[in-house]
């Protein structure tokens, strides 16, 4: 589902490459953690998958798309298949919970009756059925992240990318978010999550890909955060 082949990425303004000859693949329906110290290239890898950045060398594939080669016009096709959530939620402050989720469908031209049907469904999936009409500032951090996940998932993407989704949340709330991501993973969605949080990684015992200075230094199928930290 996700495949990187000898991918390197150098930013113009920095001397050291952010990613250095990375080869890794994540299969359909898999759940994988992307770990590593700050600056090791986790966010860069996710940005390549979204075509927010283009690799300096190597090939990036998502499903059947060669991401680096996509024409500007076909980038939306990629992004409609890849959902993403971030540490800072990125909700629209002037829209309600359900409007925030609906927005993701409106802007890709989904018909209104579809939107009316699927938005409540996905809000129920993330456990926010009673809070559809709240504004984001009326929600806790954990609830806001649930809205963000609902928005990322509402179009049923093949892949869900999460960049430190629990970075702003305390331990119990983080655990609930992980349960939610697991539930989404069980629907067949491939999940790739970048994180610093070793408690979570240790408790989930899922695949772990560890980056260090832009290189893959470890790839275990039922890993823990490990000793190298």
């Amino acid at each position: 589902m996700i495949r990187l082949e000898h991918v390197s990425k150098s930013y113009r303004t920095s001397t050291r490459p952010a990613l250095d000859d990375v080869t890794v693949a994540v299969g359909k329906g898999e759940f994988a953690f992307l770990i590593g110290p700050s600056g090791s290239g986790k966010s860069t890898l996710l940005r390549l998958l979204l075509r927010e950045e283009v690799a300096s060398a190597g090939d990036v594939y998502v499903a059947d798309l060669n991401v680096g080669r996509l024409s500007q016009r076909r980038i939306p096709q990629l992004r409609q298949r890849v959902g993403c959530v971030f540490q800072d939620f990125r909700l629209l402050a002037n829209k309600t919970v359900s409007e925030n989720v609906a927005f993701a469908l409106e802007v890709i031209g989904k018909p209104r009756h579809t939107i009316r049907k699927v938005v409540p469904e996905v809000l129920e999936l993330v456990g926010l059925e009673g809070k559809a009409d709240r504004m984001p500032h009326e929600l806790s951090g954990g609830e806001q992240q649930r809205v963000a996940i609902a928005r990322a998932f509402v179009n049923r993407p093949l892949v869900l990318l999460a960049d430190e989704p629990t970075g702003n949340l305390d331990r119990d709330i983080s655990h609930e978010i992980m349960l939610l991501l697991e539930r989404i993973n069980r629907t067949g969605t491939t999940v790739l999550m970048a994180t610093h949080d070793h408690t979570i990684v240790d408790s989930m015992r899922r695949r772990v890909v560890e980056l260090h200075l832009g290189q893959v230094v470890r790839d275990e199928s039922r890993g823990v955060y490990g000793v190298s930290r």
Binding site: L50, Q72, R73, I75, P76, Q77, L78, R79, Q80, R81, C84, R90, L92, A93, F103, A104, E106, V107, I108, G109, R112, R151, N155
Partner: protein, 300 residues
């Protein structure tokens, strides 16, 4: 494409920066209004030119000899001159006016002033060939070709003072266009600036749109439409301004001039015939500005 969604985005965008929106629309309106004014001046000048040049003549005054001895333009000198004038390029008609005919006309014109008539003798008036040019600009070449020929006294053109008048009007028109152009530049900068501000205030939305895979149209159309709205509303205001300008200013101040038919009246039909031009120019230029701004300044 969900039209209602795009439309509501446009309205939100315009409402969020009311002051910029108003400034943008007013500047656009003034610029288009000046453009419209310039176009109306052009129409008026054209019509006046047709009018006046139809009435003016180029006159080839004939020598004393011919004036005295050739009342029918039958001498070889006179008929040759007439023939050459008739075949000269740009000449429509050539009419011979004998000394007697000139005197008769003189008497008609000065009917009310018997003292003057008493003084006048036919001998003082030359015979002439009166030439209608299809293109008044041809006068210099005719004058050059016929001045100093045997039988020709001098060549005059009543159009000379008109040409001065029209040069002044042309200057007025050009000045209007220059101001319109400067104003248009200000309007373009304001439109561009408004779009940038609009894109900045909506960067969260645009960010979400990008990441959810909205097409370029969905992310950019609202901004483009904002610009087009400015162009169209500006155009409508400009047209309204022209109508008000006609009723409240031109019709009053120039009432006497219109009455005397010196300047053709500017009608509503004239305004409505430049109206589509203003709307078209307004919306197309605004859309292009919007498009370029998005290309250059806004990441999508």
């Amino acid at each position: 494409m969900r039209a209602s969604f795009v439309f509501s985005e446009v309205v939100t965008g315009l409402r969020r920066n009311v002051t910029m929106t108003v400034a943008m629309i007013l500047t656009t309106a003034i610029s288009l209004g000046l453009l419209g004014g310039g176009l109306l001046v052009v129409r008026t000048i054209d019509r006046m030119q047709q009018d006046y040049y139809q009435r003016v003549e180029t006159v080839v005054y004939l020598s004393a000899d011919i004036s005295a001895n050739d009342p029918g333009c039958t001498s070889s000198t006179c008929s040759a001159l007439r023939g050459q004038l008739e075949s000269a390029p740009g000449v429509q008609t050539v009419i011979f006016e004998s000394r007697q005919a000139a005197f008769a006309r003189f008497q008609r014109i000065f009917q009310g002033q018997p003292e003057l008539l008493q003084l006048a003798r036919p001998e003082a008036l030359p015979a002439s060939l009166r030439v209608q040019l299809s293109d008044p600009a041809r006068f210099p070449s005719i004058a050059k070709a016929f001045t100093g020929r045997p039988g020709v006294d001098r060549v005059t053109d009543q159009g000379e003072y008109l040409r001065q008048l029209f040069r002044a009007l042309d200057g007025l028109r050009n000045a209007t266009f220059v101001i319109a152009l400067i104003q248009a530049l200000a309007a373009l900068l304001l439109i561009s600036n408004t779009i940038q501000i609009s894109a900045f205030t909506r960067r969260a939305e645009v960010g979400v749109m990008r990441l959810t895979g909205a097409s370029r149209w969905y992310t950019q159309l609202p901004f483009l439409l904002e610009a087009v709205v400015a162009g169209v509303v500006g155009g409508v205001l400009a047209i309204v301004g022209l109508v008000i300008g006609k009723v409240a200013f031109v019709d009053r101040v120039l009432a006497g001039v219109f009455e005397a038919a010196i300047v053709p009246r500017i009608g509503y039909a004239d305004i409505f015939s430049v109206a589509p031009v203003l709307l078209l120019v307004g919306s197309v230029v605004a859309a292009l500005t919007g498009y370029l701004t998005l290309r250059l300044y806004v990441r999508t």
